[in-house]
């Protein structure tokens, strides 16, 4: 958790400093209250971009470019991590509630099932229905539409949340952050679906394939040659052994699957 905390700290500092600078250099933003400027910054770096607040002067435009350059990757990583935590949390909760042992691998790789995502979405919309005021008609399709367009970071700006008080600002911010995390999970899920559909899961094949470890790039062929040295064998031998191993592993997996099926039946 520690690195996550560092990133959040940096992000918060960036937001506060950015808000101060924006108020210094932009006449329109200067008239608005501090948290409204913070909200503007959030809208910018989450790439929602409603367009009800935007920089006007040349300096503030330059600054917003720099600000976005720093802020967007930070926020993307933060929200993505939160999405991961949420997924992990879901699987852990699932394991403890149903007393089923969830494999560790599952916890890290598997997505939350679609039903749950949709359920969470529904719940969120319900919350948004009653608590989040926006410029459209309340309690109608407008709410869902507004929420979805915001979460997907499309942000047309035809419906904008009202943030006239600090309380509302807090509500809207947390709502948007939560929704964006949820949306990242959903989009991830759908992306995986599409990838599966055209059967294009990232394949690790070919000796020219680059593997990034820590922050070094090494091709697979180099790795095999390294391994060959350690075992005093020629790279060719290693490669053939690896192929055999791959086969064995596959067979193992198949066997396991069939065994499980047999056990069930």
């Amino acid at each position: 958790m520690a690195p996550q905390a560092i990133i959040i700290l940096i992000l918060t500092t960036l937001m506060v400093v950015g808000a101060v600078v924006f108020q210094q250099i932009d006449p329109v933003l200067a008239e608005q209250s501090f948290y409204e400027v913070i909200f503007f910054e959030f809208i910018t770096i989450s790439t929602i971009g409603y367009g009800n607040q935007y920089p006007i002067t040349r300096q503030s435009r330059i600054f917003s470019i720099i600000f976005a350059l720093m802020g967007i990757p930070l926020l993307v990583v933060t929200l993505g991590n939160f999405g991961k935590y949420l997924t992990k949390f879901y699987w852990k909760a699932y394991g403890s509630i149903f007393r089923k042992k969830v494999e560790r691998q599952l916890v890290n790789d598997k997505d939350i099932p679609l039903i749950i995502i949709i359920g969470l979405y529904g719940l969120t919309f319900l919350v948004g229905f009653f608590t989040i005021p926006q410029s459209g008609k309340a309690y109608s399709v407008d709410d869902t539409y507004f929420s979805f367009i915001s979460f997907a970071t499309v942000g047309f700006g035809d419906k904008v949340p009202q943030i006239d008080t600090f309380y509302r600002f807090g509500k809207v911010m947390s709502y948007l952050v939560w929704g964006t995390i949820l949306n990242i999970i959903l989009i991830n899920y759908l992306t995986n679906c599409f990838n599966d559909l055209i059967n294009r899961t990232p394949q690790i094949r070919g000796t020219k394939m680059e593997v990034m470890i820590g922050d070094q790039f090494i091709t697979v062929s180099e790795i095999t040659s390294l391994v060959a040295q350690q075992f005093h064998a020629s790279p060719h031998q290693v490669r053939s052994i690896l192929h055999d191993i791959d086969k064995i592993m596959e067979d193992m997996q198949n066997n396991e699957n069939t065994m499980e099926i047999e056990e069930k039946s």
């Binding site: 690195p3 790439t47 435009r61 494999e103 890290n108 407008d142 989009i187 394949q203 593997v211 070094q216």
Partner: protein
Amino acid sequence: LKLIYSRQNEFVDDLIKLAADRYEWETLAERHMHNMSDQLFVAFEKYFLTSNEVKRNAAAETWTFSSSIFFAVTVVTTIGYGNPVPATNIGRIWCIMFSLLGIPLTLVTIADLGKFLSEHLVWLYGNYLKLKYWVLFRHRKDRREHVCEHCHSHGIGHDMQIEEKRIPAFLVLAILIVYTAFGGVLMSKLEPWSFFTSFYWSFITMTTVGFGDLMPRRDGYMYIILLYIILGLAITTMCIDLVGVQYIRKIHYFGRKIQDARSALAVVGGKVVLVSELYANLMQKRARNMSREAFIVENLYVAKHIIPFIPTDIRCIRYIDQTADAATISTSSSAMDMQSCRFCHSRYSLNRAFK
């Protein structure tokens, strides 16, 4: 629009009729003014008419084919300028469905494009490095690194090198800025904007913020602009991927401290995996299988797909791990450098002992 005009006519008629009675005139005028402003507001809010269009009594067709395409692109790329927007409920629901399906598809496509671009960039950069190396170090053969006998015997020499292909952040940033500036030039030709305004516009668009304070006109050049946007998105995705995430992962890494290889993150294909987790997973499989072979299998398997992160000063770290007395580190590390081989990352003597 028709409603607005009929109201206006009513208003004027009443004005003429009741010009005599002052009191009634006032109340009527007030009522009609209210009516008018109500209608106008509804028109602006709901149907996005502009005052110009009202004056000319001709609503510009918002949903022509080309503007619809423009709208669709802004939705699926999540730019969302906010002009045009769907006004009816059916339109909105359809828009939600459309984006639900369209956004992931677009993401996949653009990520693919970005990956393609970054691969080429890496390749180009690798070639550039080779050229640089060739130009600079052709004549300095005496400053070779030590390669141990063992490696020599297996035919690995000085000319083989493990290339470190990491693109500097500066280069990537430069590409982004050059592309944005190119967009600035393009847009300042096509639109009545200054160069800087166009630059700002293209940046806001590339990052999919899309405030909508500046909008390209939707005419014949629209397709060129769309092409520019999509290509730009691929480039931005590539840049954020190459630089931002890499650097932030570094923060992650240092946050963890270098404990051991188990907590190292390995990127395999496109997934970040903890080495220890993969290891545990393999151990499980081994335990289930109960075969003796599996140990070797596992070792090799790990070696093929992931190698724990190797810091450049591996030899020092290794030494710290192995022996407790820190005093020898500073003196021996340089000697180790000479002794150790960068291909097998092990000391010559160690290798000997192994034999």
